[in-house]
């Protein structure tokens, strides 16, 4: 097996953008390992539009967005292997992978970029009682069946969870002639983007039932219906509010979980809030030379952010291979989320390695109206930005200039918080 400087685990939007950026930064020895039979990852089944408004200033479908990067990968002659599963990443960055043609093989990489994406939370993890018939699909699985395989997984649908894939699938199934009864959401707010609620539910008259959940599944062989009940503020079903919905399919869009099994076994330190690795400003994990980007790092709403973060990871991986890790001259600055902000990416910053700007991305834990996103540098408030609405379903960001940080002598901690005044 040929050896490579940079091995990228995953050929979805994150892996592709990282590869292109690493190549443009001067590294000629890059290999992308992709488990599916084509590059592009989950974008291939996202045939709706709305991708690329930030990156390309135009509205693309998922496959179109992916193809822009795939074309670059091919033009830049970056190597990739399809139908190839990475089985293990060792702490010394030896990547073990497998496919039909090469068998199982090992590549001792100088840098590894984790770009494995995420998976959907299954029914079992939700403890929904009832039978276990056919017809219970996670929204992404249903999306693959409809958009890639070309089969209808159901005709009469109830969707639990208002994540973006669920909202998109409500519209898709309607287009394909199915009847979508409703979308039930456990929380008092949606987990998806506002624009998706408007364009995928409201436009088709599909009701969104906030603070509702499925409390029973009927049907022994195939789903015959579900019972939905209202929940109280502790998310417990309220007796007497149960309502039966006849349906042949229950679709779940109840959260995405970064797929970090490989990262964990490599020994990468994980953030329990995001279920993704802790990274510094260079998207480098706790293991030197191992970088992470895309949904394996934290779950995104917009692929544009994925591409942007992944490109930085790719650049830094190339720099790392070239020069080794630049020792930070000063102590690393901690980035902390408090008061409504649940986490930040990154969690540490070294001013030596930082470019001109520091983008800190985060999510909130509840809906805030007319609140402020504030940034403190060691207790001194430097940002106080009013926002009409801040919701858990939409990733937020603050951008700080490097000068701001260097001007603050001896800076130890950057705090991101949401304030009501």
């Amino acid at each position: 097996m040929k050896s490579y400087d940079i091995v990228i685990v995953g050929g979805g939007p994150a892996g592709l953008a990282a590869a292109v950026a690493a190549k443009k930064a001067g590294n000629d020895s890059i290999l992308i390992l992709e488990r599916d039979h084509e590059l592009g990852g989950i974008l291939n089944q996202c045939i709706h539009n709305g991708f690329g408004l930030h990156t390309f200033k135009e509205e693309l479908t998922g496959p179109e967005y992916a193809s822009r990067f795939i074309d670059q990968v091919k033009e830049l002659q970056i190597d990739y292997k399809l139908n190839t599963m990475v089985m293990d990443i060792a702490a010394d960055k030896t990547v073990t992978a497998m496919n039909r043609e090469d068998g199982m093989f090992q590549i001792p990489a100088k840098a590894v970029i984790l770009a494995m994406g995420c998976r959907e939370r299954p029914r079992g993890a939700l403890n929904i009682p009832g039978y276990r018939p056919a017809g219970i699909y996670s929204a992404g699985t249903a999306q693959r069946l409809v958009n890639i395989e070309g089969f209808m997984p159901g005709k009469e649908i109830v969707i639990l969870g208002s994540g973006d894939i669920g909202l998109i699938m409500a519209r898709r199934m309607t287009f394909e002639g199915a009847k979508v009864q409703c979308v039930a959401e456990l929380m008092p707010y949606s987990g998806g983007l506002k624009r998706n609620i408007v364009q995928c539910l409201d436009d088709y008259g599909i009701p969104l039932l906030l603070s509702h959940t499925v409390v029973d599944i009927k049907g022994k062989e195939r789903v015959e219906g579900v019972t939905i009940a209202e929940v109280d503020e502790r998310s417990k079903p309220v007796p007497g509010t149960e309502k039966f919905y006849s349906c042949d399919t229950l679709m779940l869009s109840t959260g995405l979980i970064p797929e970090n099994e490989l990262s964990r076994s490599a020994g990468v330190d994980m953030n329990p809030v995001t279920n993704g690795p802790f990274v510094n400003e260079s998207f480098e994990t706790s293991i030197e030379g191992v970088f992470a980007c895309g949904n394996v790092l934290h779950v995104h709403d917009l692929v544009d952010y994925v591409s942007e973060e992944a490109a930085k990871a790719g650049e830094h991986a190339a720099a790392y291979v070239k020069a080794g890790r630049e020792a930070a001259s000063a102590e690393e600055i901690r980035v902390k989320a408090t008061g409504g902000a649940r986490y930040t990416v990154p969690t540490t910053v070294s001013l030596d390695r930082l470019g001109d700007l520091l983008t800190v991305r985060f999510r909130v834990g509840a809906v805030y109206k007319d609140a402020f996103v504030s940034v403190y540098l060691d207790g001194e408030r430097v940002t106080h930005q009013k926002k009409r609405i801040i919701a858990p379903g939409e990733m937020e960001q603050v951008i700080l200039k490097k000068e701001q940080l260097t001007a603050h002598t001896g800076l130890k901690e950057i705090t991101v918080t949401v304030e009501t005044e």
Binding site: M87, G103, R123
Partner: protein, 483 residues
């Protein structure tokens, strides 16, 4: 015309079928579902019990201890995973410590070897994650864990290879005996005639028994809910942790599975519906509460799935084994609840021996009691993998990423004797779909493999037979494939 018909391809029916396959006889197993292992056998604790719990002198005690003895060699012969991890009955109330001695004494009388009572210190040294409330335990090193699917499937497959016929999707509906003493079994797929009937119908064993006998029996479905936790929690405990038993059974256990998950369960709720395998919110809540009493910080948020199984609880809480007095040539295997899984090799041995003697059966010369399981690539070295992939490249393609199941394993599961025909069939033979994503990623791919290998339209691929179809029709009309 058959010599013996066995009703039910659960673990009892399959164990009896395998024992009888030693002899020259025409034997058929009738199964209403599309596969073996579709009822109680697929949804239980998967424990090979030591045998201290069953009442002294009972059939349950006798067959449990004998089944436990036989299981190790059987698992080797059938190439299925089995581990004597040991069982602990943990006492969390000082005033109930006497109960452990009582169990110990009963176990000794039942013939359970190597029982020991552990002090709190010994116990916590053995299982440091047990609750601080643990006061002591009965330790039974012969207790074990097994894969119930593989046991059932392997028994049936071995019986099949040795000449036993299997009829799936065939539901026995009515039994009658003609003037020559032959049994006529009416099914949804025609009538079967046989000299002997073995009633291994699980929850429905009372239905068939009562059809032929005036001495009625009554089986109550006793539901047990279970939660399965992610493999990252699988080493929380090493032994099977039992509470002290009550009249409703052995209580809610916390234990590792043979494949490295952790499970909590079962509840014990008597219901009326023999098909009532739906879990309930109350049941799951009870698991979380009770399981948490015995181990520290039960990581219940790591649940990947929950399910319910039904125990075939006969009113007398005892196995009913043997020829029915007023129904000649009708052999009951009824009331097979826990320790039924453990006992199945012994029940097979007993019923097999009984019919051999009654029917003067002679042994086949070419009987083969061993088989190889679906090749598992788990834990293979790089060289071993590559050897396998060179021989068959399908072993280089991972289909189920959570459980690392290759296409080669799935093809084997489909094409072997009594092979898989549904997603659940593949799952029980290979574990594809049993992992933390619960088939989210692999189900479209397994569906594609099934339809290709079985040459069926996608619309006919089911989760578990019957009307459990996965998709309804193609999108658009023509050329549904967009990629």
């Amino acid at each position: 015309m058959y010599d013996i018909i066995i009703i039910g391809a659960g673990v009892t029916g399959a164990a009896v079928a395998r024992e009888l396959s030693r002899y020259d006889a025409r034997i058929c197993v009738l199964e209403r579902e599309e596969d073996v292992c579709c009822g109680t056998s697929k949804a239980n604790s998967a424990i090979v019990h030591a045998g201290f719990d069953a009442a002294e002198g009972s059939l349950m005690a006798r067959f449990n201890v004998r089944g436990n003895e036989l299981m190790e060699d059987l698992a080797k012969d059938l190439d299925i995973p089995f581990r004597r991890n040991g069982s602990l009955v943990v006492c969390i109330h000082k005033e109930e410590l006497d109960g452990l001695q009582e169990l110990y004494d009963r176990g000794v009388k039942n013939g359970v070897p190597d029982l020991r009572i552990l002090s709190k210190e010994e116990l916590l040294e053995m299982e440091p994650n047990l609750s601080d409330n643990a006061e002591g335990a009965l330790y039974a090193p012969t207790g074990g864990i097994i894969c119930p699917f593989k046991l059932n499937i392997a028994l049936a497959e071995n019986a099949f290879v040795n000449g036993v016929e299997f009829r799936f999707n065939t539901r026995a509906e009515h039994l009658s005996r003609d003037e020559e003493g032959l049994w006529h079994i009416r099914t949804n797929n025609g009538e079967y005639v046989t000299r002997y009937v073995v009633n291994a119908a699980g929850l429905y064993a009372d239905f068939f028994h009562n059809m032929v006998s005036e001495k009625k029996i009554h089986i109550t479905p006793r539901r047990g809910d279970y939660c399965i936790l992610d493999k990252e929690t699988g080493d929380l405990v090493d032994k099977t942790i039992f509470p002290q038993p009550s009249k409703m059974g052995k209580g809610i256990l916390v234990a590792p599975t043979i494949h490295g998950n952790l499970f909590v369960g079962p509840t014990a709720i008597d219901i009326d519906d023999k098909e009532g395998t739906a879990t309930t919110a109350e049941g799951i809540a009870q698991l979380i509460e009770k399981g948490g009493m015995y181990v520290k910080d039960l990581p219940i948020r790591k649940v990947i799935t929950s399910f319910a199984g039904l125990r075939a609880h006969e009113d007398g809480h005892e196995f009913i084994l043997g020829e029915v007095e007023d129904a000649p040539h009708f052999i009951d295997c009824a009331g097979i609840e826990s320790p039924g899984l453990t006992s199945c090799p012994a029940i097979g041995e007993y019923i097999g021996g009984m019919l051999r003697d009654k029917m003067n059966l002679t042994e086949k010369k070419d009987w083969k009691g061993t088989r190889k399981d679906v090749i598992s690539t788990e834990g293979l070295s790089l060289e071993e993998r590559n050897k396998l992939i060179r021989e068959n490249p399908a072993f280089g393609t991972i289909i189920c990423r959570c459980e690392s199941v290759t296409e080669g394993e799935i093809l084997d599961a489909i094409h072997r004797p009594l092979g898989a025909r549904s997603l659940d069939g593949v799952k029980r033979r290979t574990r594809a779909g049993m992992g933390r994503c619960q088939a989210g990623f692999c189900s479209p791919r397994v569906m594609e493999i099934l339809q290709r290998e079985l040459n069926l339209p996608m619309e006919e691929i089911t989760k578990t037979g019957g009307k459990s179809n996965m998709v309804f029709y193609r999108t658009k009309e023509e050329g549904g494939h967009t990629a």
